[in-house]
Symmetry: C4
Subunit: 357 residues, 4 copies
């Protein structure tokens, strides 16, 4: 097994074992939807269809990028793709660098398209990719969109990781311009800040997955891989809590910028809160993997069905028939997330007093 | 036993067992009355008589809607009604849908009137009731008032529950207009928000029981009934904390709207705080039931006597001889409830500096 | 033993046993003095002499009213008086009602004057006293000042307690006018609020011991005496936290009103904070008693010496040579006490930015 | 062994044993750097060179003053100096009063210069030193700078400690004027406040180590030495949390004043936060000693290398190539430190919205 392949398996094992695979620290509990006793809606009327850069999604929940690149993970991707197909969810594959370099692992990615021929699939590469690599990655899984991921904290904690992050923005800009499919730039659990979002927007990016802190924690994972006993808690907790990242980027209100929220989304109400704060879709990684490891495809499906049902319930209880309506509901933000938002220029009173239709 | 009857018994059992049957999360501990060392009052001068829509209540504490509809619960209602009669408290029966459909369970409701012929009794139906059903429910117990309850979160967690909540407001408006007794619209532990209150007010409703989160928790109960192991904590904690609901609806200051506070009212000081924030009466459900189950009518009576005595003590210690005086006392709101209120437009400084007479 | 005598012993026993005899909830930990690295002072220069209504006190710490009225407590008062004499501290006796009615217990009060013939001694009566009783109480211990105590919450929790609190203000006003020694009106651990302070001031009172919540807790004590198992937590925590009471009354800035701070003062820094917030003296009850019970007069003395030394240390570390200087030091108030103060009109920014000389 | 020598050993032992040798209470966790997903930097570009009063430092981390003055501690200073030399860090020796009085312990200080002939070394004396003593201390270790320490709280807790703190400011002013090397005035874990900083600045001081509360705690240490069982928690927690001290002094923005941050700096991210708040360097004492005691010079080196690497990581993740850039990054301050700062006039919104370049 190549070192890269072993790493992929380490990630799976540690993501499932780690504290980051459970909730906590993402800040969703500081975000409160306002109950509506008279929703004047029926569940069957609720329609949460959405789209990312024009690609229609039947539901506003995706399976986020995780794996591929080692023979041992093909089964994981198969299970995830099966659940995605059954539930009509978009799904991203894990970083395809390995797939571009090691032909014998290409199948571990392709399986996703084979199992789910008509679904929305996102290719995934790091932000140092070239347009050619991007095209190849998209082709590999016949992707509808490409994710470019930003994961500097993780790289810096890996002995074998990148140390040079120059020129990334330009590479992203080139890919956005030249690629035939739309590009989503995503973090990996450290949160896109207002400043980063503005940089990306100016580089032409029109879809960002803010992927904040509080869910899967790749500094914690890499520190365990490296045998670190007591890491710097400031690094093991590095990044913007997911709710803070989403709220502050949404408050920029950049015209035409579409947001995806991920990082510690665990339950239907987390998803509802993120959507109410302005995300067009949410994405989940860690817990999907945990269920796959424990219970296979059936576990993944059961988990996601539950999350979707709870999301629908939350929407109904806000009286929101669709995402546009949900995004007009009042949202009350308290605690640490409230403090953060107030200091970073989010208008909390406006959010708390938005008018329900 | 019909499924509905079995459900009634489940509710009793789980309400008593559940965490929701104890305090926590209602926010009353964030509401502070201001001690007055020189009350210049005697306990015998304190007179907390009140009224709801013109129906006089000897005391501002009611036993809220709980049960009826199964042969096994007749004894419960008998005990509650006996205590209500002895203490001069208004009491609501549980939802009478069962009583309207299954003649053999009518007695489980009627017992309340039989035991307490002169007391104030509230009939209870869901908000999908017709005026005819409303009239029949009122007649069944010779009710002085009718409660229409809103419990969408509970319904959505019941396999057998409602999924269509359209047309409720209109039905409520019809009943309010056509019924001969006044109507109280009540939540069931999820909290009436400012927006919902305004809708109800515009539909003609003049009495609302805000019944907020923090006491009996029907999502938790239904999740246990459904065998859910780990429910969405955002749903199991759904709703406005009772103190938030009351404060924000009271701050609307809608002319002629009367408020009842319930949800996690457990002690006399909780009641005093709710009354000081503007409620005309408070209502208690879960703990009354718990005492009935453990100790019968005597337990109910002992509990309510204690609560009434502590309420009187709290009033005296604020120097408030009656509810009007209590509602002029300063109230200091801190913590999460304070954050919520500030964002939702409650004038906390005005409350904290109201002048004592 | 008379019932009253037994009660005195109960109070001693429960005050020492109770949670209220330890710190917690008084809020002193939310009050922060600002360290001064260059105090430019020597400890021997520090002079904390003060006065209450013209009666000079060698130190700004008093032993607050506790006991007397039962043969069994004479030894307590003897020990306390001995420590007071040695350290030059003012000391109050417990309520003298018993002494006025039962001649055989007079000695339990007089011992205080006998042991400490030249010290400052405060007589103590309830606010329902007559001027004649006040005079008699003062004479009994040749008192320099008279404390009139307010303890409505305690009375209401005692089966044998008062229920009628009318006319107290007038009685206080009469005693203030007619008595030859100055009068201090004091709470008993429930806190004098801004509103109460204003009432007292208008009635002519010029010295108030705010005695707030957080130290000895007489609702808790009486509930235990009455065999209450689970009391109303809102009553067992009734009253203004001592720091809140002091801050809000001090902020009234009533000309000529002198404040004493008590309630949960346990350490020298608690005392320093109270003095910095505007008290002319602090008073301690519960912990003094606890040390007397465990270690006799020597324990009392050791405890108070430690407190006085730590107070001196705190003053030096603020660069404050005397009380006037201490009261010009910046004080930063955070947490719950900060929230309370802000809502009740205390100017926190002014306190935090007071100029050191 | 002289009493002073025994004290030196006690300090080492208790500093390592104490709770203060671990983090907690310094407030660094309330200070949040803002992650930048696109740093557009390479680690090798990062250059954190700095200077104090014109003395260049290769890295913005120093080993703060600890020991010397007893034969038993020579090995400690040798180990620390060896690590300092290897890593190019400045290092301060402990107070040299002993060295000036007891010739047989001079070697315990000189070893630092011998082991590290070209490094930056800081001499250390108390603020009661004379210019002659200052010169002698500098000469003893051929120091590049002199630290004058302020430690009034510690002195006051030592039976043998100072009680007279008059004239210190003048002595400091004299030394600053007359000495040939620059002078850093430092606290010892109690925090320099805004007021103290202004006094020092007006006396001519141009470098302050704010050394705040939350790391090594010398009141706790001296209380243990003195056999105190339960000290005044207000004294054992005396002082400004390090983050508060730094933030409020930095906000003064005194032209030409250079700040060093110490007190509870344990990790690279703590250092990064302090530097971002305006410190030119940070200094670490307790944990360096703890590692020396457990693992010798190698442990010290491993610890400091880790800290430096994590600091570099944090800078890169903020996109800051040097200290000037780091000090333009947004910093979000919440919790108790946020409350403190707001009350003491720090402009939190300006800090949170500083523009990244
Ligand atoms: C095992 C595992 C592998 C991952 N690999 C990738 C990856 O290759 N590319 C990527 O963009 N994100 C990757 N991620 C990050 C996720 O897409 C997501 O941003 C992050 O896990 C936060 O979401 P969560 O809290 O729902 O897990 C991975 C996550 C996990 C759990
Ligand atoms: C066993 C049980 C059954 C209930 N059934 C009804 C009902 O039929 N109708 C209704 O309006 N509320 C019902 N409730 C809700 C209560 O009236 C009340 O709104 C809620 O329990 C919150 O108050 P609590 O915290 O004091 O229990 C029921 C509550 C309990 C505990
Ligand atoms: C055993 C005991 C008896 C007390 N009796 C009296 C009393 O007779 N009169 C009075 O004014 N206060 C009395 N107090 C109240 C104290 O004077 C003081 O206000 C209260 O205990 C709060 O201060 P602490 O927290 O330092 O105990 C008593 C306190 C104790 C502990
Ligand atoms: C064992 C020990 C001895 C110390 N001795 C001195 C000293 O002689 N002079 C001085 O200025 N500071 C002295 N300090 C204080 C440190 O320089 C520093 O200000 C304080 O420990 C806070 O930093 P820390 O939390 O990183 O330990 C000493 C610290 C320790 C742990």
């Amino acid at each position: 097994m190549s070192e890269r392949q072993r790493r992929k398996l380490d990630h799976v094992r540690l993501a499932v074992a780690g504290p980051g695979a459970r909730a906590g620290g993402a800040g969703w509990e500081d975000v409160h939807l306002v109950h509506r006793s008279l929703p004047e809606l029926a569940t069957h009327e609720i329609d949460l269809r959405t789209s990312i850069c024009g690609v229609p999604l039947a539901r506003p929940v995706m399976i986020n990028a995780m794996t591929g690149g080692a023979p041992g993970v093909t089964a994981i991707n198969r299970d995830l793709a099966a659940a995605a197909a059954e539930l009509g969810l978009a799904m991203a594959v894990g970083s395809q660098t390995a797939g571009l370099r090691e032909p014998e692992v290409v199948e571990s990615y392709r399986v996703v398209r084979r199992v789910n021929p008509r679904g929305v699939i996102l290719a995934n590469l790091g932000s140092d990719a070239t347009p050619e690599q991007a095209r190849a990655a998209v082709e590999m899984v016949e992707a509808d969109l490409l994710q470019l991921h930003l994961n500097a904290p993780q790289e810096l904690r890996m002995r074998e990781g990148d140390r040079d992050f120059r020129g990334r923005l330009e590479r992203i800009a080139r890919i956005v311009q030249e690629l035939s499919v739309p590009v989503v730039v995503k973090e990996c659990g450290f949160g896109v800040s207002r400043e980063t979002a503005r940089q990306l927007y100016e580089a032409g990016v029109r879809a960002i997955d803010v992927s904040g802190r509080g869910g899967t924690n790749f500094v914690w994972i890499e520190d365990r891989r490296a045998g670190v006993v007591e890491g710097d808690p400031g690094l093991e907790g590095w990044g913007l809590p997911a709710a803070c990242a989403l709220a502050e980027v949404a408050a920029l209100d950049l015209s035409g910028l579409e947001l995806i929220a991920s990082g510690g989304i665990r339950h239907g109400t987390d998803a509802a809160k993120a959507l109410a704060l302005g995300a067009r879709a949410v994405a989940v990684a860690g817990p999907v993997l945990a269920r796959q490891q424990r219970e296979g495809a059936a576990g993944v499906r059961a988990y996601l069905e539950g999350l979707l049902a709870d999301l629908q319930t939350a929407c109904l209880l806000c009286g929101a028939r669709d995402l546009a309506a949900l995004q007009r509901q009042p949202v009350v933000i308290t605690g640490l997330v409230g403090e953060w938002c107030r200091l970073r220029g989010v208008d909390l009173a406006a959010l708390a007093n938005r008018s329900q239709p």
